[in-house]
Structure formats: structure tokens, C-alpha cells
């Protein structure tokens, strides 16, 4: 049975996150290509967003007017989004094994043309998803004037894209308190540690100077994440940014905090070990 979007306890959310991680490994090993590190590291964020009572959605009516939306600006992290959506009942879990195959709705980067329930936008060219989310939040708050909220997740390396800061500026300019961005802050990108490739710190001061409400939390701790999303929801007059510190590859010892795992799948043997570790 799919999990529901009612508020689960942190303990239950930990269990859900483990299931999401197992599904990520299962889909990647069959796909034989794709990204492991980011999806595993951010599974707790997704569990809380979708199964922690944070977002208002209906998996049986994914296009329901007035729903909350989630945009994965870091499109390459889609294995975690697909696994979460399947566990939330948007589409069959068996479909996760079609990831990256010809004719699959689970494209290598989310493609809206495949009409996969729960996918609000094509993403994959970094930075652009955040601007799309700002547009949706603008539409909800200032055009439709409804209560819907828009969530967007970016990587930390992604913050190097200049257009990110154009999006951030516009969200603050319009006081989009229905907009909440999450930075998956694992300090890893393909070429190495983020501060070595192109330093993005200090992050909190940057977002504060753009007039964002900034919340820092342990992104691998479901209780802290629940509190962070509550705080974002309660914030009025300005958009929120949750800087969620995570470990790339979290939950699988040999991938943990290793940027080398950004963009590759586990082999069959590695997947076996990973699934054992994940229980």
C-alpha cells in the first residue's frame, strides 16, 4: 500500500526514507547509469516533504487545482523523486525498474512530455527549475491568490549558476512567502568538493542579504526537517530557504560523503551490499 501524505512520526519517516533508498538502488542497478549520491543523500528530505504532512497533494488526482507543487531543480537527482512518488502512490512501484530505458516515463532527467504523474516540469539544465518554481509561486500568491505552496530543491553546486540568484532576487522582491527552496547541501559535485570547484559560502548570509528567511538543519534528520518545514510555513512576508546539510550517498557506507558517487550507479555486487546495509 502506498504511504499517505498524513503526518508520520520521525521514526516512521526514517523507515520510509530507507524504503526510498532501497528503491533508488534497485532502479539504478537495473538502469546501469544515473546518479546515486544525491538521491541517497536527500531521501530524508523527500520522505518528510511527501510523507511528513508537509505538502498538500493527491496522488490519484495529480493535477488537482490548488495543490502544492514540488520542482526538482537539480533534475539529475530524479531517482529519489521517482522513488518517492511511487511510494506515495502516484504510479506503480514496478515502473521504477524502467528508469532511463527507451520509452520509459522515468526519463534520465524529468521530462514533462512523458506525462509521469507528479512531474510538474522538465528539469535538468541546472538553475532553471528554481526560476520555474518562482513563476508558479507568483501565480499562486499574486494571480490566483490561493494558499498553495511551491517547493523547489536545488543542489549546492547548482548555486554556482548565475540565474539562481536572479530567481532568488525575484522571489524576495515579490515577498513570496508561499515559496520554499531547499538546498541539498552535501558539499559534493562532479569535479570535487564544492568549495574547491567554486566556493559558494557563506550561504546563510547570502540568502539573508537577498531577504530570505534562512533555516539551517541536518538534512538527514527527519525530526529537524519536520521542524524546518513548519518554520518555513509559519514565515510570513518573505520566502524561505532551508539549507539542509546532508551527506552524499547517505545510508550506504561506501558511498557516504564521496563526490565520486555523484553520477554513477552501483554495480550488481555493490547494490547487494547497499541493500543489505539498508535493511
Amino acid at each position: 500500500m502506498p504511504f499517505t501524505n498524513e503526518r508520520h512520526s520521525p521514526e516512521k519517516l526514517d523507515e520510509i526514507a530507507r524504503e526510498i533508498r532501497r528503491d533508488i538502488i534497485r532502479s539504478l542497478v537495473v538502469a546501469k547509469s544515473g546518479h546515486s549520491g544525491g538521491p541517497l543523500g536527500s531521501a530524508d528530505i523527500f520522505a518528510v516533504l511527501y510523507m511528513g504532512g508537509v505538502m498538500n497533494y493527491d496522488p490519484h488526482d495529480p493535477a488537482k487545482p490548488g495543490r502544492d507543487r514540488f520542482i526538482l531543480s537539480a533534475g539529475h537527482m530524479c531517482p529519489v523523486l521517482y522513488a518517492t512518488l511511487a511510494n506515495a502512490g502516484f504510479f506503480p512501484k514496478s515502473e521504477l525498474l524502467t528508469l532511463r530505458k527507451f520509452g520509459s516515463r522515468l526519463q534520465g532527467h524529468p521530462g514533462r512530455d512523458m506525462h509521469l504523474p507528479g512531474i510538474e516540469s522538465s528539469t535538468g539544465s541546472l538553475g532553471q527549475g528554481l526560476s520555474i518554481a518562482v513563476g508558479m509561486a507568483l501565480s499562486d500568491k499574486l494571480v490566483d491568490r490561493n494558499d498553495a505552496r511551491v517547493y523547489a530543491l536545488t543542489g549546492d553546486g547548482e548555486l554556482q549558476e548565475g540565474s539562481i540568484w536572479e530567481a532568488v532576487m525575484s522571489a524576495a522582491h515579490y515577498g513570496l512567502d508561499n515559496f520554499c527552496m531547499i538546498v541539498d547541501n552535501n558539499d559534493c559535485q562532479i569535479d570535487g568538493r564544492v568549495p574547491d570547484v567554486m566556493n559558494i559560502y557563506p550561504l546563510q548570509k547570502k540568502f539573508e542579504s537577498f531577504n530570505f528567511h534562512v533555516i539551517e538543519c541536518d538534512g538527514n534528520n527527519t525530526a529537524e526537517l519536520l521542524a524546518a518545514f513548519d518554520e518555513a510555513k509559519a514565515t510570513k512576508g518573505k520566502p524561505s530557504c532551508i539549507i539542509a546539510r546532508t551527506y552524499m550517498g547517505n545510508g550506504v557506507s561506501f558511498m557516504q560523503d564521496k563526490y565520486e558517487w555523484h553520477g554513477k550507479p552501483p554495480s550488481e555486487d555493490q547494490a547487494k551490499v547497499a541493500l543489505e546495509e539498508l535493511g
Binding site: 544515473g34 504510479f91 506503480p92 527507451f102 520509459s104 521530462g111 541546472l126 548565475g162 569535479d191 570547484v197
Partner: protein, 362 residues
């Protein structure tokens, strides 16, 4: 021509760039995070002092490259073509081309053959955009060795240039002796019945198709056009005059792409019937490179079919609008591959889930 193994054109770029770095101290390289994928890592290892990591910020990297060029450096910036041809289009147009800045862009992972990454990462429109930019030189090498020669050549010329290369291994068939001159096409196979004009790895597919056609007594001339801009109009006009029918082949959008560029040269000099092999106004998708090349009609078989069509048009047997069956030709390589779109049986997957859930409760 025959193959002697296969290797991706991106290695030609990376190795050529490292060689260029040893020749010329003005060469500097900007990294866009995926340096291992586009092989600028080879330059980085040899010349760490002339390598600058710019992070995931193609718009900025392109503009910084223009500044370096205006200060007398010869900067190379490489990324996936999806992000260093279109994402930074305005920067290329204004800061690079309008400035006539000596910037070299390496567009990697081009075409549909990138495979499972899907549409967002499969650049098909770079040829259309880049050959429209004034001052831009656009090179699409056909194999590993030509990519190496082309990289060195654009590093030695003055002015903005873009080189397009791929991720997947493709046949190697040119040799050290094969002539390479920027702006000059080369006849790789003689023939006067029709001409197949191709760029990139599609040149090999064209040679394979020509061998198939030769079995039926049809001698196709195969022309390799590695420089799409400036285009060798002479070799194209000559082919039009002497062969009387032309097929183009590219791993990119036909609209505004290589086929369109060749068509302009043909129409201007000596109009003859033409057919086009390439991507037909659609986005890519996930799949293996082989699956995708078939599904999007980019194989030697597709070139063969187009050759038969163009010959029928020239002889008045086919007006170009009828179905092939109506004129008694099904095409020896029927294009009955699955077309892009969802092919997985969703209902069956739902049923599988139901059964799994039932087993769990039982």
C-alpha cells in the same frame, strides 16, 4: 574506407587540447564541473596553472572566456553542448561573436547518442544556432582522429569557434594521411549516381549505406563536411552538378541544421532533388544509443532509404508525397522501429504492484 577500431570523438578533443597546450602558452582552459566527461581534465593534469575551474555557471564561463580572449589569451571552454551552445546563447552572440573574441567552445555529449540522460542533455539544435552567428567557425569532426586535428586547427586559427563532439565510441576510419583543412570538405568515396553529404559520425553511416547501394550498382559519392561554417560551397555545387541528387546526414535537427546549410548552397548554385536524414523537429529521450539512433532514423539504413527516394524523385517515379508502397518500394530497411513515446505497459505494472501487495498481506 575501413575502420580500425572505435573511440569517442571527445577523446580527440581532450587529447588535441592537451597537445595544443604544449604548443602555445596562450591556451587557457575553463572548467564547467564536468571536466572528466569532456576530457578537459587531460589539459588540467598537464597544465594546472592554465586551468580555471568556473563551477556550474556556463553563462559566466563564456563571458569570462571572452574577457580572457580580449586580453590576448586563447581560452577553451567545454561542457555538454546543451549548456555551452544554447544556455549561453546571448553571451556567445554578444560577448564572443560580436566582440570577435578568440574564444573556443567545445560542445560535448552532442546528438541523440548520449543515450539514457534523455532529452535535456541531448543537444540537437547547436548546429542551427551556431551557424547563424556571425564570425563563428563551426566544426563537426567525423571520428576521433579528425576531432584531434580539428581541435588543434581551431586553436591555431583566430576568431570564435565551436567544435561539436560526442560521448559514445564511434568508428575510427580517417588516418594521419587524410587531409584536414578548416573550411574544406573531402570526398571520401567516389561516385556519380548521387552524393551523400554528411557530418560527424554520420559520415561513417553514409559510407556503409554507399556500400549497400553499390551492391545494386548505384555508385554514391560520399562527402565529409567537417566545417559547417565557413561551408565549402564549391564541393557541394560540384556534387550537385555531377551527381544530380543529394542526401544529407547529421545527428542534429534538420531544421536550420546541417541539411539546411547544404540545401542553401545547392539551391544557390545548382538546384537538384534532396533528401535529409536527421532529427525531424522532435526532442530526444532516454534509451541506449543504438535504440535511439534507430528510433530517430539516424542509421545507415535510413540513409540508404533516403538515397533510393531521392533517385526516384530525380527519375520522376516518385513525387515525394506518395507513400513508398504506392510506388512499389517499401524500402529495404523499413523504419518500423518503436517511435519515441511511452512504450511500457502501465496497466501491467499496476497489476504487478497489486500482486506484490497481495503477497505481502498473505
Amino acid at each position: 574506407m575501413t575502420t580500425y577500431g572505435s573511440k569517442a570523438t571527445r577523446f580527440g578533443f581532450g587529447e588535441g587540447l592537451a597537445e595544443l597546450g604544449a604548443q602555445d602558452e596562450r591556451i587557457v582552459v575553463l572548467g564547467g564541473d564536468i571536466t572528466g566527461s569532456v576530457l578537459t581534465s587531460l589539459f588540467k593534469e598537464k597544465f594546472p596553472d592554465r586551468f580555471f575551474s568556473m563551477g556550474i555557471a556556463e553563462q559566466n564561463a563564456t563571458t569570462v572566456a571572452a574577457g580572457l580572449a580580449l586580453s590576448g589569451k586563447v581560452p577553451f571552454f567545454a561542457s555538454y553542448g546543451a549548456f555551452c551552445a544554447l544556455r549561453n546563447a546571448d553571451q556567445l552572440r554578444i560577448s564572443v561573436c560580436y566582440n570577435e573574441a578568440n574564444v573556443k567552445i567545445g560542445g560535448g555529449h552532442s546528438g541523440i547518442s548520449v543515450g539514457p540522460d534523455g532529452a535535456t542533455h541531448q543537444i540537437l539544435e547547436d548546429i542551427a544556432l551556431l551557424h547563424a552567428l556571425p564570425h563563428m567557425t563551426l566544426v563537426v569532426p567525423c571520428d576521433y582522429l579528425e576531432a584531434k586535428k580539428a581541435t588543434i586547427a581551431i586553436g591555431q586559427m583566430i576568431g570564435p569557434a565551436y567544435i561539436r563532439f560526442g560521448r559514445e565510441s564511434t568508428p575510427m576510419f580517417t588516418t594521419e594521411e587524410t587531409p584536414f583543412r578548416l573550411g574544406k570538405g573531402e570526398v571520401f568515396r567516389q561516385g556519380n549516381d548521387l552524393a551523400i553529404i554528411a557530418c560527424g559520425p554520420m559520415v561513417w553511416e553514409a559510407l556503409v549505406a554507399a556500400d549497400e547501394l553499390a551492391k545494386e550498382g548505384i555508385q554514391a559519392r560520399v562527402i565529409n563536411i567537417h566545417t559547417i561554417k565557413p561551408l565549402d560551397e564549391e564541393i557541394i555545387a560540384e556534387a550537385a552538378r555531377e551527381c544530380g541528387a543529394i542526401v544529407t546526414a547529421e545527428e542534429a535537427q534538420i531544421i536550420g541544421g546541417f541539411g539546411s546549410a547544404v540545401a542553401q548552397a545547392v539551391v544557390k548554385n545548382h538546384p537538384v532533388p534532396m533528401e535529409f536524414v536527421g532529427v525531424t523537429d522532435t526532442f530526444g529521450g532516454s534509451g541506449t544509443p543504438t535504440e535511439l539512433m534507430k528510433a530517430f532514423g539516424l542509421t545507415s539504413g535510413d540513409i540508404y532509404n533516403s538515397a533510393k527516394k531521392v533517385l526516384m524523385r530525380r527519375s520522376g517515379q516518385w513525387n515525394g508525397f506518395q507513400r513508398m508502397t504506392e510506388v512499389g518500394m517499401e524500402g529495404q530497411h523499413p523504419q518500423n522501429y518503436p517511435k519515441p513515446g511511452v512504450v511500457f505497459p502501465i496497466e501491467e505494472l499496476i497489476e504487478a504492484d497489486r500482486q506484490a501487495a497481495a503477497e505481502q498481506t498473505a
